[in-house]
Structures are given as structure tokens and as C-alpha cells.
Symmetry: C2
Amino acid sequence: MPRIAYVNGAYVPHRHATVHIEDRGYQFADGAYEVVNAFRGRLIDERLHLDRLDRSLGELSIAPPMTRQAMRLIMREVVRRNRMTTGLLYLQVTRGVAPRDHKFPPAIKPALVMTARSIPEFPKEMHDDGVKILTIPDIRWARCDIKSVALLPNILGKQAAAEADAYEAWMVEAGDYITEGSSSNAWIVTADNILVTRPTGNRILAGITRRAIFGMAEELGYTIEERAFTVAEAYAAKEAFMSNSSHFVTPVTQIDDAVIANGKPGNLTLELHERYVRYMEAAIPLQSLEA
Amino acid sequence: MPRIAYVNGAYVPHRHATVHIEDRGYQFADGAYEVVNAFRGRLIDERLHLDRLDRSLGELSIAPPMTRQAMRLIMREVVRRNRMTTGLLYLQVTRGVAPRDHKFPPAIKPALVMTARSIPEFPKEMHDDGVKILTIPDIRWARCDIKSVALLPNILGKQAAAEADAYEAWMVEAGDYITEGSSSNAWIVTADNILVTRPTGNRILAGITRRAIFGMAEELGYTIEERAFTVAEAYAAKEAFMSNSSHFVTPVTQIDDAVIANGKPGNLTLELHERYVRYMEAAIPLQSLEA
């Protein structure tokens, strides 16, 4: 079955899915996006993703391309046409098409693209063995709270990680403080079993999975400290993990040359991952959802 | 006559000029660009622009999409098909099309888009009256030397300027130092007739017009100091101007609420502008150039 994309009002075969060369997303990275996880026929935290998309667009003064109700209908149709039960639904909104000029054009229609791609349910070895992290300087702009498509520093970071046989890059700002990963939030567990993660603000994205972990940690009786933590603290952590919508809670067992604890995924990390899977299983299946 | 764009091997009517939704330029701002000024049938500093494009692509590990000879042939053909004598030739190169994944995809073909747009020869009132500048915080990433399409902070800056009835935004980093404009380099002239502009490096783009001004100032017997300068210095300057490929040397007569000197374009600024026009007139006409 060919994949189907939604592009500005039409459902089109993926290979013919195009946007204009003067779409401002292409010339200026003038847009925002979301990746919503589909798990066994459920869209996970759909409302929170759409809330965050609204916020990103608001910060960029881009009008929503349509009502949320209409957006949710299209999301379901894209999932259905791609027969996706587990995978990733990608939504991108840009300011639209206009003759190239830096400042905002008057009254143009925002562009909306959606794609869906099935992926295997768990990258099992990632959760069995944990992943390696490379730390790199955080060279990004000052508004990392906006989930914009200006991802050039993020892809350079992810590539640097790949070239170092690491799975993810954690970005480090002045003072040796870790901000977040190139496409994930960063967490450590201290010797006292305190969960530590960077507070939200302009330096990191307010992760949706990050937020879910807050609720799960509370249920489990753990304390979360929202504070900046250093690379040295991470090296010495009892556990470390990363969180994002596509890979949930992923154990980190090595950071640069430092093996974390005994080099095995930590117990709390694995507990959070299991709990997150149950959290996803408890979501309302798509077919029983009114859009 | 409809405008014609070059897109990945084909000359197409502008309105049908499209790229794939998974072009990494659209999803990740994973590409670089140049704007080459055409003036009375000449392409100005073509070689320098192509050198800079090569450098940007090199820094991003994107292979050149073709030989320079082939690129120059296409540039000429785009100019010819659009019957452009004075205007802007826009070139954009991205890493190419691949399933969305942050890290670089293996061996894909870079994408190349070119457009040409005729514009009036001089924005005369800009040079007669000068323009107003708004200073704003520089929130960009740490690699402003790369002319990437990740221009989101630049467009937000230009829009902030427009909303303040200013023509351009000058960006200010910690310590109150001006880096550059959202699409131009920033210059002041001190009471001692010293030209001051920010040194190249990671914080600014190495402007092609900026470079030409170095030669012209030398001919005129002026000294250029390459150093960071503050907003306060700019307010108190004898003259101020901005430089870029589309508007050459543009007098600045107001910065925020500060009127610069007597509020008229400065003599040195106007002299540099005149000289730059002669510099352009001395370029070899396109039709007599071997591609």
C-alpha cells in the first residue's frame, strides 16, 4: 500500500506530496511541527501535542491553519489511509507561500502537511541495553521552547552522535549544564533516588513524555527536582535516561566515555518505561474516539 | 511573461515549482542559500557568492549539487528565461529528500532551486533619506557564519523592525554589542572618520558587499576597524549604514529613538554607495561571460 500524505487540503500519494518552493518553511524555516505517537491504534496525548502546536504557532504569530476539530479529523484520516496502528504521525504548519521577503507577508493561508509512518512497536535492544549519549556544545538559538522546523543545530548534533556511535547528543551550555537532547529531554537519577531534569523555559522544549513522567514518578512515590544539572553529575548518576514521544523512556547506559553505574538500564528507568507503556495502553482507541 | 524557476533539473513555471515534503530543507532547515545581485545585465560578485555557498555547504557536510561550471550555466539560463537585467537571483541547496530522521541520510542527491526576480534599480528614498534601525536581542544560534535557511530568528527580527516602523533590525548580544542586521551587516563611522564593523567569525555572516567596502574604503583613504561596537557607540556615531547584496550601502539615519548625527545620510556613506554602483557597473556583462 502506498503511503498517503495530507498536503494543504488534499490526500496525495507520498511520492507526489510537494509544497511550493516559496513556502516559507522551505526558505526561512518559518513553521512549527509536532510528532504524535500512535500506539496500538491510539494517538498518545493528542490534546497536549495540539496544545503545544498552538503555543508554538502563537509564539511565531502564525494563525492555526484550521479548527482543532478539523485538524483532528484529518489526523484520523491520515492514520486510517496509512493503516497505521503503531507509528508516528507528523504534523507541520508553516506560515504559507509568499514571494521571498523576511518580514511576515500580509494575510496568507498557513500551510499544513501531515504524514504517517508505521514503525516497529519497541526498539527492544534500546530498552534492554540502553543507549550511549555524546555530549556536545549547545549552539542553538534562545527559543528552544518553540518546536520550530529550524532544526539545523539538532540534526548536526544527532549526526555528531551517530558518528561517535552514540544514539543521541545531549547539549551542554556554558557552566557545563546539560539542556536537553537533540530530539529528547534528558534525565538523571541521583544516588538518593531523586529524579532530576531541566526546568522548562526558553532553553528546552517542554516535552509531552517528560510531562507524563511527572505523573508517573509521583504515583511511584519519587521526587523530581527540576533544575539544571552538569555533565559531571550525569557521569556520576545512579541512572540516566532520555524521554520523547517516539521512544518513550529510553535508558542511557553510557555518556561520552563514562559508563553509568554498572552499565545496565536502571530499575527506576525500566519501571517508568513499563508504566509509560501501560499509560499508552490506557488511552482511548482511535476508532472509538469522536474526532 | 511567467516567471521560471529551476528545480532539481527542470525549468518550471514559478507557480508549479515545488519540492517534496520530505526535502530536508522543509523539515529541518537543512540547507544553505545565496542571493546574487543582478545589476544592468551583470551578476555581481558571482564567484564570491559561489565560494561562500561552497563554504556553507562544506560546514554542513552537504555535497555540491553539481560542478560550479554547471551551476553557472543554470544561473545564466534562469536569468535569461526571466529576462532579468536588474534583480535578485536566489539559489538554495538542501541536503535532499529522505524519510524524516535527524541524522544525515546515506548518499542522497542534494536539491537545488533557483529563482530570479526583477526589482527596481534603486530604492531611491532609502538612499535619499536613510532608514531607521530597531535594535533587538540577538537570539540566533552560534554559527551565524553559515548562510543556512534556518532563518526563523532573522524573520522574527525583521518583522519586529517592521512593526516598529523600522527597515531593519540590528541584533545585540550580551555586553550590548551589535552583531549584525537580520539580513545585512552593520557599520558605523566614528567622529574620527574611522569605519567600524564587526569582525567576521561565528557571530556574523561574512558579507560579500561588506568585503567590497573594504576595498573601496582603502581606495578612499579611510581606515576600517574590525571590532565589536556597542549600541551606545552606534547612537553617538557620525554616520551609520548597513550593507548587503540587495541594497548595497544603505544610510542609517535613526537607531531606535536616536537620530544619527543631523538625521541625514552621511557623506562617507553616500560616497561608498556611489562607488559601489560604479563597482557594479564595471562588472563584466553576462552576455559576454563564458559560463
